[in-house]
């Protein structure tokens, strides 16, 4: 087979797969722009005859609060996770001893165990300290759940930074903390961005804790809200699709705009190393 024929087959395969992989997004978009009547009378694959934005408006009205709840919850938790995680990740990358290896192992286990084992004690703990039913319950839960992963991800990036950089700073008499903030963090910025993106998206997309901690509609976050929309039979497909698309807008925008950081974060997050 000639090289050209081989390439043609490779492209045909990739394009076919890509189109099929994008189909759910396409169908969701097309459905979300159809009038209620048209969703039932026309072929699902067919674009709307006239663009109707009312599904988007009614979807936004019903999930607006949850969308902002998710932002209120995700941003501080992400910040805390990245803060706690980078401090630990930096230390782990700079000190190799039996103790740090043990700590790394314990952090890795805590990162990858299924959340189900933590769900009941976490709700007990949050109820005990009296924050159940408030934003704080989510922030505390996500900070505890995800700072270990932030430590592992950031540590992979710190590993790649040569130590010589800090030695100069120490010679100038700076403390470890000063060196960390003034010298290391700026150089490690791409890695910090990757860590932040992965943690933010994990919190935004998380469902098991979100649905359990959303004890009232006032604090319900976006994923349980979408699940709720689907549960209520009164909501039509066009509104449900518009709501779903709104709910995935932040991760989609991040992936399209900062894909490179997302990918290196995913690789580091899988404990594969950054190379």
């Amino acid at each position: 087979m000639s090289i050209n024929a081989k390439m043609a087959i490779a492209y045909a395969l990739l394009i076919f797969m890509s189109l099929f992989w994008m189909l759910p997004f396409y169908v969701a978009l097309v459905t979300s722009l159809k009038s209620h009547e048209e969703t039932y009378t026309t072929n699902v694959l067919q674009p709307p005859s006239t663009i109707d934005v009312t599904p988007w408006i009614s979807a936004w009205k019903s999930i607006e609060r949850a969308f902002f709840n998710s932002i209120i919850v995700s941003l501080p938790s992400t910040f805390l996770c990245v803060m706690i995680g980078t401090l630990a990740g930096y230390y782990l990358s700079r000190h190799v001893s039996r103790a740090t290896r043990t700590l790394f192992f314990l952090i890795a286990i805590a990162t990858f165990i299924p959340y189900q084992i933590l769900l009941i004690p976490m709700t007990m703990f949050l109820a005990h300290i009296g924050v159940m039913g408030t934003y704080l319950s989510f922030i505390i839960a996500y900070t505890i759940l995800l700072s270990p992963w932030a430590a592992l991800i950031s540590s992979a990036f710190f590993m790649a930074i040569p130590k010589e950089l800090e030695e100069a700073s120490y010679i100038d008499g700076a403390s470890a903390l000063q060196t960390f903030f003034r010298v290391v963090l700026p150089v490690a910025l791409p890695g910090i961005i990757s860590t932040t993106i992965i943690i933010f998206m994990s919190i935004w997309n998380e469902f098991l804790f979100a649905v359990t901690l959303s004890t009232s509609p006032l604090i319900r976050t976006i994923q349980p809200e979408v699940a709720n929309l689907r549960g209520t039979t009164t909501v039509a497909w066009n509104t449900l699709m518009a709501g779903s698309l709104i709910a995935i807008l932040p991760p989609l925008i991040i992936t399209l705009a900062l894909g490179r950081y997302f990918i290196s974060g995913l690789l580091a997050g899988a404990l594969r190393g950054t190379r």
Partner: protein, 288 residues
């Protein structure tokens, strides 16, 4: 009072040590709750030994959920990693991996809740899948995908493959790009076909890609919950019931906390079989 070195350690490690201690204590509490008599809104922690486990092991629903989890792990882990490797290889050989990588990553970036919602619509009676099948004259294959108990589980497993393929592609793309190019060139000079190169050079060289992808995929299938909740609630019947959903329903719907904790402990015990070797391998890679 403290040496500088100790102070430094404290600042950098105290927060994570605090978090990690909470997490390990919580695991202990969960296991304890699984041996308690807590079966209502009112917290109750009297020790009852292994009674809840005996009840669980004599409940047929447990075996249905466990079987579904095992099917999920096998039918998800295998195809996702193999397809991921094949696509990554084809992608890299076209040299246009940027655009394709982004396309396959979009499902990976979104929540499983929304992925489930999108696919409930895809699988609907007049949804995209049935419409496409009819357009291709394959109308006899059209069916109510997720309300048919004989295929609902496989329909949901496919959605998770759709979601995680991008993740597998990234892992294998990085593994392929890490292969010494001279190995591939040598094979080409020997007149090997692309398929032979793939089989004899690429596959053995990306072993470590499998070591990363396969355990993580298995874990994702073991703890699966979101899509079952949003798409089928374990139904029709128990066709798509899994341990993660069984656990949640038992603990947070029926309020049988102790029984829920017992299911969680089983999930946890199974996960350790994957997580511990995974962490040990990562540890070796890390502190090389």
């Amino acid at each position: 009072m403290f040496s500088d070195e100790f102070r430094e350690k404290l600042i950098f490690l105290a927060p994570i040590l605090f978090v990690i201690s909470i997490l390990y204590v919580m695991i202990g509490i969960s296991i304890y709750v699984s041996m308690s008599d807590w079966r209502s809104y009112q917290i109750s922690l009297n020790f009852v030994g292994l009674r809840n486990y005996e009840a669980l092991f004599s409940n047929p629903r447990f075996y249905t959920a466990l079987k579904n989890n095992i099917i999920w792990i096998i039918l998800f882990m295998g195809p996702t990693s193999i397809l991921g490797l094949v696509i990554a290889y084809i992608m890299v050989s076209t040299g246009k991996e940027m655009i394709f990588r982004t396309i396959f990553l979009l499902p990976t970036a979104i929540s499983m809740t929304v992925a489930g919602t999108l696919w409930v619509w895809m699988y609907a009676e007049n949804g995209a899948i049935n419409t496409l099948l009819k357009a291709l004259n394959l109308g006899f294959l059209a069916r109510p995908w997720i309300s048919d108990p004989s295929i609902a589980l496989y329909a949901l497993i496919f959605v998770t493959i759709w979601q995680y393929l991008g993740f597998a592609i990234i892992i294998f793309e990085a593994a392929i790009k890490g292969i010494d190019p001279s190995l591939i060139e040598a094979a080409q000079i020997d007149g090997a076909s692309s398929f032979q190169i793939f089989w004899d050079v690429i596959v053995p060289q990306v072993r470590h890609g499998f070591l990363v992808a396969v355990p993580l995929l298995a874990l994702s299938a073991l703890k699966i919950f979101d899509i079952v909740y949003v798409a089928t609630r374990g139904g029709p019947g128990l066709a798509t019931d899994v341990l993660g959903y069984f656990m949640w329903e038992t603990a947070f719907w029926q309020r049988f906390m102790a029984d829920g904790a017992a299911i969680a402990t089983i999930i946890f015990a199974i996960s350790l079989g994957i997580v511990i070797p995974y962490a040990l391998i990562a540890l070796r890679r890390w502190f090389r």
